[in-house]
Symmetry: C2
Amino acid sequence: MNLDSIDCCVSSAYSQSLNGTRLGDTAEETMSIREYIKSSRHIVVPNHDDRKIAVINSVLSSFGLPRAVHLCIPTNSPDLTRTPAVSKALMALDITGADLVIARGRLGVPGSGSMLVIMDSRGRILSASLSPSHLYHAKSISDAVTHEMEEALVRVGFQKEKI
Amino acid sequence: MNLDSIDCCVSSAYSQSLNGTRLGDTAEETMSIREYIKSSRHIVVPNHDDRKIAVINSVLSSFGLPRAVHLCIPTNSPDLTRTPAVSKALMALDITGADLVIARGRLGVPGSGSMLVIMDSRGRILSASLSPSHLYHAKSISDAVTHEMEEALVRVGFQKEKI
């Protein structure tokens, strides 16, 4: 785990924003996110059942990343918040102190579709992906989670390993 | 504007979550989001310049939705928070009291790519969409915003109007 690199990027980005010189994400920033994820040893996926963990581990493996473990907790209480997916990730972090949390839940109000969020050990959002409400796509849960997990990694510069 | 419908959906979803009977988004919930967006009269897009407003209005028009207005404010302070796009939307809401805010900014930590968020008059997230870090796509800002705005609408059941 290398939090220092992300901390440096946050500090530098803060200065750029305050000075009005910020020009968007840099290669160094996305690399620091990838390095943090790659070096995580304790990765948890909170859910009331274990339907998602196999799919998520399959994707992590295809990107050459460490495996996650299932954190079996009742996850209906985050659904009572305004940002259920983020709340679910924070709940898992506060219970486990994991290096990395991968949580999937509702984006916002009921009807707003789903969000998969990747969070570091301090509760910061490293990446995420969204799916439409299941009413508007024909994917199985397994296919939707696979797509979301891949997208969340690709959008910060990860590539699938060649077989 | 019809907040009552969303309030009813939130109340009902809370009960379902507490009872362990929640089965995901319902057609009534996504309809209440669409009805709220369709009936919004004062829609603002906060940004330090007006590069995004024309693109966003073009998309809104193609879905038969009301036009938004540009809210010209310095938006570097939300970049100092953990969730810049959501903070930018809340900042615009607290300044204007708009019915609807459409804000685009960074998702999370520096390097985490962008998020477009659609927020109601109470600060609740109705929909959103994400783009990868600009380092990993070849789209212009205009094309990226068009895609994000369309996706944020389609994922809650909106369809483009036929010409």
